[in-house]
């Protein structure tokens, strides 16, 4: 991967970007930047505007307001230039199912302007990277869901891009395959590839992202390293209580009176910043289970929404 000039500015800059679809505002005055060599996790529930943001970056949808720059190129004006050096791994499987694994990569090796003499090597190393070398000549329809997702990733990496967009890279995959893909993304990260990854899996963002941007209703409501976001918004520990609604209501009232944030999770109430709760309050609250605070707590506090 090429090392960009130090003074090149961020790999991605969105400033005041608005995108409407009819009466729906999918992206609402979005400001976001991603520095070279970092992984930014875009965290938000379905409908938060993550996929629209991705499509804005590839020029596949045009903003109504605001400016976008990708790898130093204004988008959509010079989107094709930017797309030359970026790889896109879509949420939706759009492989050519009639073609083989290798043929899918061949087409994109050509599209990404890899010189003819170097295409074979590029495709071979992309196949090796995602562990599909022995399935190179299988038809896509004969691959498992996990293999197809790996092939999608290989397709986005065949030209060794400077920037990779991963849209919900592990959605719908079983835990074992998810772990494999996390290992792969982690490897890219250590190679210094800039990654923008949207996800609604908290664990994915915590494990892989240097920085997390929490998105809700088309804008970023919080941004920072996972641990910073935790300590800023949710502290380190939470006390979780189950019980009849009136008891949960009592707990909420007590906690709030003491200045501690709370959140409802279905049949339970979590009292956050439990580490700073006075012993008397903990006694008054009753018996709850102590757990570590998570990004999900941060997310719910900030947006009032659940992730899944």
């Amino acid at each position: 991967m090429t090392t960009p000039p130090r003074d090149a500015g961020p790999a991605i800059v969105l400033a005041g970007v608005v995108k409407r679809f009819g009466s729906i505002t999918a992206v609402n005055e979005l400001d976001l930047d991603v520095s070279y060599g970092t992984v930014l996790g875009l965290l938000g529930p379905n409908g938060a505007g993550k996929s629209t943001t991705m499509r804005l970056l590839t020029g596949q949808t045009e903003p109504d307001e605001g400016t976008i720059s990708v790898l130093g190129h204004p988008v959509p004006e010079r989107s094709k230039q930017a797309r030359l050096r970026m790889g896109v791994v879509p949420q939706q499987d759009n492989l050519d199912t009639e073609l083989t694994t290798r043929q899918n990569l061949d087409v994109f090796a050509a599209l990404y302007r890899i010189p003819r003499g170097r295409r074979r090597t590029a495709v071979d190393s992309a196949l090796a990277l995602v562990g599909l070398t022995d399935r190179a000549d299988s038809k896509v329809t004969d691959l498992s869901g996990g293999m197809r997702r790996r092939l999608l990733i290989a397709r986005g990496l065949v030209h060794r891009p400077d920037l990779v967009l991963l849209d919900e890279p592990t959605v719908g995959l079983d835990p074992q395959v998810r772990q494999e893909l996390w290992g792969l993304i982690d490897r890219l990260r250590t190679e210094g590839v800039t990654i923008l990854m949207s996800t609604h899996y908290i664990e994915e963002a915590e494990r892989l992202a240097d920085d997390v941007a929490v998105m809700s209703h088309g804008r970023v409501v919080a941004r920072g390293a996972p641990l910073t976001l935790l300590s800023e918004h949710a502290g380190t520990e939470a006390l979780e209580f189950f019980g009849p609604p009136e008891n949960l209501g009592r707990i909420e009232a007590l906690a709030r009176a003491a200045g501690l944030p709370t959140r409802r999770t279905g049949p339970s109430v979590s009292v956050l910043r439990a580490e700073s709760a006075p012993a008397a309050l903990v006694d008054a609250l009753g018996s709850g289970s102590r757990r570590a605070a998570t990004l999900e707590d941060v997310f719910v506090l900030l947006t009032g929404e659940r992730l899944e």
Partner: protein, 267 residues
């Protein structure tokens, strides 16, 4: 920190780049290797059946049409039909399936391919196939007694041009319909009636004047005329007119297909 001073390598960004075009054609060729046999089979068998039915069947009742033997008349007329089948149908069905079910175009547009390149590459690919498959009936007609002439070498190009228009007609329609079933209406209400006023199986001069005027608006009619004149003798002025109509049809459909695809894919 202006981005202009340190932009990455100055790669040419033209509206139409050969490499994008080439890659899409390579993809199509790879796909084509999987279905060429069935396409070629039907491209040969269909005109054969028409020639047997009309040429040998109806042909025994008709000695000549417009100075041509009926086999020559039908053989050349079938070219237009083969062109229509090889272009309008892929234009409608393939582009619809690829856009809505397979999302192939989304994948291409996320790579350095612009929508104009995509539309041009897909349209010309279908037209090229129509150029080849559209000419097959002529070859089949040789076996029914058609005499080869030098002018026939122009037929693939006529078939390409007409095919381009129909391919873009289909692509445009694929951006208009909501479901794939709606193509049934287009096939039965638009494409089938066009045969009536195209002069494929019988001359339009026998039709009521209204239909004769309508024929002038039918690209299929102009395709048939151009193919016949290429085979049996040019009529410069008339042929220039037929060519101009086919060209205008292709350009208009190209524009409509491009607008539709942009609307559907770059929302």
């Amino acid at each position: 920190m202006t981005s202009t001073t340190n932009s990455p390598a100055p790669t040419a960004v033209r509206r139409y780049e050969w490499v994008a075009f080439e890659a899409i054609w390579v993809r199509e060729l790879t796909l084509f290797r999987r279905y060429w046999a069935s396409s070629t089979f039907s491209a040969i068998i269909q005109p054969t059946i028409y020639l047997l039915a009309f040429g040998l069947g109806v042909g025994t009742l008709i000695s000549s049409v417009d100075g041509l033997s009926y086999v020559e008349y039908v053989g050349t007329g079938t070219v237009a039909m083969a062109v229509l089948f090889a272009s309008a149908f892929p234009g409608m069905f393939s582009t619809f399936v690829r856009r809505t079910f397979q999302h192939s175009y989304d994948a291409l547009l996320a790579a350095p391919v612009d929508i104009e390149e995509l539309v041009l590459a897909e349209g010309t690919w279908i037209a090229a196939k129509a150029g080849v498959f559209g000419s097959i009936p002529l070859v089949v007609t040789f076996f029914f007694g058609l005499t080869p002439t030098w002018g026939m070498l122009v037929v693939p190009f006529v078939a390409f041009l007409a095919g381009l228009g129909w391919a873009y007609f289909g692509m445009w329609q694929s951006t208009v319909v909501k479901t794939i079933d709606a193509f049934t209406y287009i096939t039965s209400a638009v494409l089938t009636p066009l045969f009536l006023v195209a002069g494929t199986f019988f001359p339009i001069s026998n039709l009521p004047p209204v239909l004769q005027v309508l024929a002038q608006l039918n690209p299929l009619f102009h395709c048939v005329q151009l193919v016949r004149d290429a085979c049996f003798g040019w009529q410069p002025l008339a042929d220039l007119y037929h060519f101009a109509v086919l060209l205008a049809f292709a350009l208009l459909m190209w524009e409509l297909a491009s607008t539709g695809m942009r609307r559907r894919l770059l929302a």
